[in-house]
Symmetry: C2
Subunit: 235 residues, 2 copies
C-alpha cells in the first residue's frame, strides 16, 4: 500500500512523534511505501480563507466550498493545498497521528482537513459516505491523550470514545468515502512510565501488523436512505 | 450580563455574520454589554506551539498544557492569549458563532480554544466539569450548516446532533465549568430563500430574548464519580 501519515505535534521528542516513527518503521518493514506530512515542521497554514483562491468564481461573496469546486475545475487550487490533495489521492491508507486536544484534533490538523478535503474531489452532490471521493481507500486515527481508559465508555465521566470521535470518523473520514479502521489510542501518556510507553509502542506495532485484516467500522450507507435522505423504512 | 461573542467566518457578508450582528443588536436591546472577537478580522493565530511561551518551564521538551500552567503562574502568557483570556473571564455568557466545518468548528476557532482555554485558569487537577474554572458562567453555540434538519437525529443519515456536538459542548465548554445553553442551529443556509433567512434571524432573536431562562444541558457531575473517576454505584 501507499500510506500517508499526517502528523501534528509541536514537540519532535513527544511520544506522539514516537508513534509516528513506529508506524513508519513497522509499515516499511511490511513493504509499504510511506509518505509523511509533518504539519508543524511544514508550518502548514490551517486557516481556510479567501487567500486560498487566486482566481474566484464569485469575487464578491466567499462561499468556501463553492470556491473549492471552482478552483478544482479551473485547476487553480492553492499550491500547498494541491500538494496535499495529490498525496491523499496517491495513498491507499491515510493515518492521522495527533495529540487529542479538547476531545478533537489540534487546530493545525483540523485546518488541514478544512483546506485539503476539497469539495469536488472528496465529496460533492450525492458523492458522500459510501459514494464519497475516497471510496475504496482506508483511514485510521492514532492519537495520544492524558485521560485514562476507564474515563471513557457508557456511564464513564467523559462518555463513550466512539461518540467523541463521531465528527472525525463518521462526519469527516467516512463522509468522504474512507473505510475507517479502528483507532489506536494511547491513554494517559503524560503520566506513565517509560516501560508503559514502550508497551504501547509494541501494542501499536501489533495493531499495524494486522492492518490489512482490521475490519472497518460500520456506518450508514446511502442505500439506506431515499433521494431526499430520509431513512428508507425497509433499510 | 457581560457577553463575549467569538465569531469565525471568512466572509463579512455571510449569513453567519448576520447571526452575529443580530445577537449584538438583540442583546444590547436587552441591556447587556457585548464584546466581540472577530477571529478572521483579528488575523488570530490558531496554532498552539512553543512560540506561545517566551519563557519556558522546560526549555528542552514542550508539554503544551504544563507550559500553560507555568506561564499562568509566571504571568507570561503570550499577549494575544492573555487578551482573550481576560475577555472570557469578564464574560458571564460566551457565544461561539461559526459555520460548521466537518461537523466541528473551523480550525481558526478550534485554535482559539486550544490556545485560550489555558490549563491553570480554565481547568487543572480536579477542577473540571462542575468544578471547572468557568463555573457559574454560561456558554452557547450558534452555527450555520448546509445540511437539513431531517438529516440529523437517531436513525438519520448523520446521526444525532447532540452526539456530533459532544466534543464541543461536553468535552470543552462543560469540561471547563460552563452551563451550556441549547445551541441555535441554522440549517441548510446556502440553499434557502431570503425569506427563510429572515425567519431564521427572527427565530434567533426569540432564542436570545429568552436567554436568561434557557435551561442548561445536563452533563455528569464530579460528585457522581469517585476519587479515581470511576462511577459511584449509587450516583
Amino acid at each position: 500500500m501507499n500510506i500517508l501519515i499526517i502528523h501534528a505535534h509541536p514537540e519532535p521528542q513527544s511520544f506522539c512523534t514516537a508513534l509516528k516513527n513506529t508506524a513508519i518503521e513497522e509499515l516499511q518493514k511490511q513493504g509499504h511505501q510511506i509518505e509523511v506530512s509533518d504539519l508543524y515542521a511544514m508550518n502548514f497554514n490551517p486557516v481556510a480563507s479567501a487567500a486560498d483562491f487566486a482566481e474566484r468564481g464569485n469575487a464578491d461573496y466567499l462561499n468556501y466550498a463553492l470556491e473549492q469546486r471552482h478552483a478544482c475545475q479551473q485547476k487553480v487550487l492553492a499550491h500547498d493545498i494541491q500538494t496535499e490533495v495529490e498525496k491523499v489521492q496517491k495513498a491507499d491508507l491515510l493515518i492521522l497521528n495527533f495529540p487529542m486536544y479538547w476531545m478533537s484534533m489540534p487546530a493545525l490538523l483540523k485546518g488541514w482537513i478544512d483546506r485539503v478535503f476539497v469539495s469536488g474531489i472528496f465529496y460533492g452532490g450525492k458523492r458522500f459516505y459510501n459514494h464519497g471521493g475516497m471510496t475504496g481507500k482506508k483511514a485510521m486515527l492514532s492519537f495520544t491523550l492524558g485521560g485514562r481508559d476507564h474515563m471513557f465508555g457508557e456511564g464513564a465521566i467523559h462518555g463513550s470514545m466512539d461518540n467523541i470521535l463521531i465528527p472525525i470518523q463518521r462526519g469527516t473520514l467516512a463522509y468522504v468515502g474512507y473505510d475507517v479502521l479502528p483507532p489506536f489510542i494511547a491513554y494517559h501518556v503524560p503520566y506513565i512510565s517509560q516501560e508503559a510507553r514502550e508497551q504501547i509502542l509494541l501494542d501499536y506495532r501489533q495493531h499495524l501488523h494486522n492492518i490489512e485484516n482490521l475490519p472497518a467500522i460500520v456506518f450508514p450507507t446511502l442505500e439506506q436512505f431515499d433521494d431526499k435522505l430520509y431513512p428508507l423504512k425497509n433499510a
